[in-house]
């Protein structure tokens, strides 16, 4: 039997199972903590840092933290909110995000967060890096311009032998996602679709799919990301 613990988020007394991921525990208590690299059901790797909260006044990523009794958590101090905006702006500066021509626009988590925070422009210089669009794969397109390197595809997608399909290449500003030609050779349509959906942005696309939902009907056209949690 699992034990329940009591903890505090932004002054509100919360309850959840001991050891639950803080993101999920907060969700159970109708509190939304912004995430990007986290994906329900796959092991977390705190890399985007956007879910940073204060735990007993020290910064920690909520996706890699397990709740314990009496934890005192702050999720939305002005400094944390400013930090989140900075993370989003850094991602826009670093890549090439031309939303008007992007298949994912309206359904994109990065864009949705930028809308939530009303980010009109990045305070950081735009890099305009030279990046490629790979289309050699029979089913997938990999658009490196839009990849935010969150590792969700690496961690979440394995072929039917359990083998890795996506992996990191290089490091630092040259970090990239590679697709293995062998292990990805015979992936099913479902897995290809899964890969597209696990990606928070428009960096993995299934060929000949895109712009399916008309403007106005897309996930984030009218609904703020996270509002489904907060408005329970």
């Amino acid at each position: 039997m699992s034990t329940f613990v009591k903890f505090i988020i932004d002054g509100k007394i919360c309850l959840s199972e001991e050891g639950k991921q803080l993101i999920e525990a907060a969700k159970e208590n109708d509190i939304y903590i912004p995430t990007l690299c986290n994906y329900p059901g796959i092991p977390p790797k705190g890399s985007c840092r956007i879910c940073t909260v204060l735990i007993n006044n020290r910064p920690a990523t909520a996706c890699t933290t397990k709740v314990t009794e009496n934890m005192d958590i702050k999720t939305s101090t002005p400094e944390l909110e400013d930090f989140r905006k900075a993370v989003i702006e850094l991602l826009f500066s670093e890549g090439n995000h031309f939303c008007p021509s992007c298949e994912r626009s309206g359904n994109c988590e990065l864009q949705a967060l930028a809308y939530k925070y009303r980010i009109a422009v990045s305070r950081f210089p735009y890099f305009f890096p030279e990046r490629t669009i790979e289309s050699w794969h029979p089913k997938l397109i990999k658009d490196h311009n839009r990849c935010i390197l969150c590792k969700r595809c690496i961690r979440g997608i394995k072929n039917n032998e359990g083998k890795t399909i996506f992996a990191y290449g290089r490091r630092g500003q040259y970090l990239e996602i590679n697709i293995d030609p062998e292990t990805s050779k015979n992936i099913s349509d479902e897995l290809a679709e899964q890969a597209m959906n696990i990606c928070p942005v428009g960096a993995i696309l299934v060929k000949e799919k895109g712009f399916i939902t008309p403007i106005g009907k897309r996930k984030y056209d009218y609904n703020i990301i996270g509002s489904e949690i907060e408005n329970q």
């Binding site: 977390p44 790797k45 705190g46 890399s47 985007c48 840092r49 956007i50 940073t52 910064p59 990523t61 890699t64 400094e79 930090f83 900075a86 993370v87 850094l90 991602l91 500066s93 670093e94 305070r123 950081f124 210089p125 890099f127 935010i148 390197l149 590792k151 083998k163 890795t164 399909i165 996506f166 992996a167 990191y168 290449g169 290089r170 490091r171 630092g172 500003q173 040259y174 970090l175 590679n178 697709i179 293995d180 030609p181 062998e182 292990t183």
Partner: protein
């Protein structure tokens, strides 16, 4: 080729956690790792090629294309630049007929730059086919290239003017000098290998050792200053039969080279410290993680390990005691500063890219192969041995309240006597400057603790080296008034962090580039005062990065702005906020005009 690959893989029993060794050995044999080679490894280990590339492409000493029969890595550190790196670089280029980053068309010579190789006391230095060539001059550089063209061997090119002490050992034959300027009472005092082991075998239990280390208040010498006794205690109590002891010899912080000297002169002291830690913690395996830049010591260190095995100081029944088993293997890195971070070090030793882990869990709970693992610095292990031999009381008589004992300092830059100084904690920066023969009135700044530390001005030279004041992993780079601080130091360090970020965390990956770009802009004279404000403001975002690299990666800039604001103000004072001076219209249309001029 296929045979070589298979032989190497067989040597490591087809164990994918030994991928680093497999790649290192194959590269040594074949010169580089081609796509074909990757495919063979992938088949033999039954892991996807992308996973091999994931590891391989992380480290800058691995090459996927031929890199020359002779591969020259010229050091791009701050002190190397102070001491005339540019001229040496030019000489290499002229004589070889290629630019850095290229390989000669005949495949003979490859020229590359690399960040600090741990030779700041004898710059400019280069690694050539893994052998260090310190104290280079343009003449020497030209001669080296000429000998290469004549087909001389690396040994011939090195000549026979080997450095002092064990640098001349027949298994090392290195040109490196130790430059031990001051021997202190702990590390560089008399030492007989095996004495401490004898002592614990006779009279000390594992808890006795931990108590003694705790009573000594020994704190880790790798920079973070974590209490060593406590670390060992947690690891001892951690669940599990299998535990590991890691010695961190990655020493990548630019300006630091003390571990190089300790490993050269006192390897048995280091290894004995690991054995004692193993005894205290209940670990039977130790790993020395040696940075690739120090791979030239490897054969020598292997030989030392064998001697210790022969003397009963390593292996089974250590000191004749039943059940006291401990052995050490050497794991080489392949070029990545972040691998000095303990969890990245562990990942690397497991054959992966050196990406730091999320914490908790900490390595003492779940480290190498998910077993409890102690990671300590080279100097920490050495100190522990002496504490076991002479007692915590003896040790506590030295140093200050928060910082007991001594510290081995790496001193370099604009001074007469760069090198290693073992001093008691509590000396001021001024004291060290005096010892090193630096004239205070000619000194602009001192970089304490490397790029991740701070750049201090004369006002702070009275500060004391100790955890309670100026904490340091032990390096001081002395920067003379003749230097251009922003260009020669700050820019170099920001470039370093940009190159070395593992790239996982968004703020670290992207802001290191932003900082480098803005500092560059300021150096070009195109900065604005709002740029300086932003540099100060944005560094708070770095505090939320996963590891110490990202958390300190803007320190070069912000500590320099804090202490040398006037230099920054001076460089931006003529530039208006309304128009961006860094946009240069003539530059921007150049490409267009050139297209038509060529026609």
């Amino acid at each position: 080729m296929g045979n070589t690959i298979n032989a190497v893989i067989k040597k490591y029993n087809g164990d994918e956690t030994r991928l680093m060794d497999i790649l290192l050995d194959i590269q040594t044999e074949l010169g580089y790792i081609s796509d074909w080679t990757i495919e063979q490894i992938s088949k033999a280990l039954d892991i996807p090629a992308v996973e091999i590339i994931q590891t391989l492409s992380f480290y800058h000493f691995f090459h996927r294309e031929p890199k020359g029969k002779y591969t020259i890595y010229l050091n791009d550190s701050v002190v190397s630049n102070f001491n005339g790196k540019d001229e040496v670089k030019k000489a290499f280029e002229e004589e070889a007929g290629i630019k850095f980053g290229q390989v000669t068309p005949d495949g003979l010579i490859g020229l590359f730059e690399t960040s600090c190789i741990g030779m700041s006391d004898q710059e400019p230095a280069a690694l050539i086919n893994e052998q260090p060539f310190p104290s280079l001059t343009p003449e020497k550089a030209k001669k080296i290239i000429r000998m290469m063209k004549d087909g001389k061997s690396i040994e011939d090119i090195k000549g026979n003017k080997y450095g002092e002490g064990n640098n001349s050992h027949y298994l090392m034959r290195s040109l490196v000098n130790n430059n031990i300027q001051e021997r202190g009472p702990v590390i560089f005092s008399d030492y007989t290998p095996g004495e401490a082991i004898k002592k614990i075998v006779k009279e000390l239990s594992s808890t006795d050792i931990i108590e003694e280390i705790k009573k000594s208040y020994l704190r880790g010498r790798g920079g973070a200053g974590f209490p060593t006794g406590l670390k060992w205690e947690i690891a001892r109590k951690a669940q599990g039969d299998i535990k590991y002891i890691f010695c961190n010899a990655d020493e990548g912080e630019p300006g630091t080279f003390k571990d190089r000297v300790i490993l050269t002169e006192l390897p048995k002291l280091v290894f004995e410290g690991m054995v004692i830690a193993g005894y205290a913690v209940g670990a039977k395996y130790g790993i020395l993680y040696l940075r690739n830049e120090y791979r030239y010591m490897r054969d020598y260190l292997e030989h030392v390990l064998q001697e210790m095995r022969d003397d009963g100081l390593l292996g089974k029944f250590i000191g004749g005691k039943k059940g006291f088993d401990f052995d050490i293997r050497i794991q080489c890195g392949a070029g990545a500063y972040v691998c000095g971070e303990e969890s990245a070090l562990i990942e690397s030793a497991e054959g992966k890219r050196g990406e730091p882990r999320d914490r908790p869990p900490f390595p003492v709970e779940s480290g190498y192969l998910n077993k409890p693992t102690v990671v300590n610095n080279v100097e920490t292990f050495c100190t522990a041995v002496k504490i076991i031999l002479y007692g915590s009381e003896w040790y506590n008589r030295m140093g200050t309240k928060e910082s007991r004992g001594t510290k081995v300092l790496s001193v370099s830059g604009d001074c007469e006597r760069p090198g290693i100084y073992e001093v008691e904690w509590g000396f001021s920066v001024n004291d060290i400057l005096r010892k090193a023969g630096a004239k205070t009135h000619e000194i602009l700044a001192v970089q304490v603790g490397g790029p991740s530390g701070s750049c201090i001005s004369e006002k702070e030279f009275g500060r004391v080296l100790a955890y309670e004041d100026l904490a340091t992993g032990g390096s001081l780079i002395i920067i003379g008034k003749k230097r251009n601080l922003i260009k020669d130091v700050v820019l170099n360090f920001q470039h370093f962090f940009m190159e070395e970020s593992c790239g996982s965390c968004v703020p670290c990956r992207v802001l290191t580039v932003v900082y480098k770009k803005i500092i560059e802009k300021i150096v070009r004279g195109e900065g604005k005062s709002s740029d300086i404000e932003n540099l100060q403001k944005w560094s708070v975002y770095m505090k939320n990065n996963r590891c110490g690299l990202g958390q300190t990666a803007t320190n070069p800039t912000i500590t320099a702005i804090k202490n040398f604001k006037y230099l920054f103000d001076e460089s931006v004072k003529n530039n208006s906020e309304s128009f961006n001076t860094s946009f240069n219209e003539d530059e921007a249309v150049k490409e267009y005009i050139e297209i038509f001029n060529k026609k």
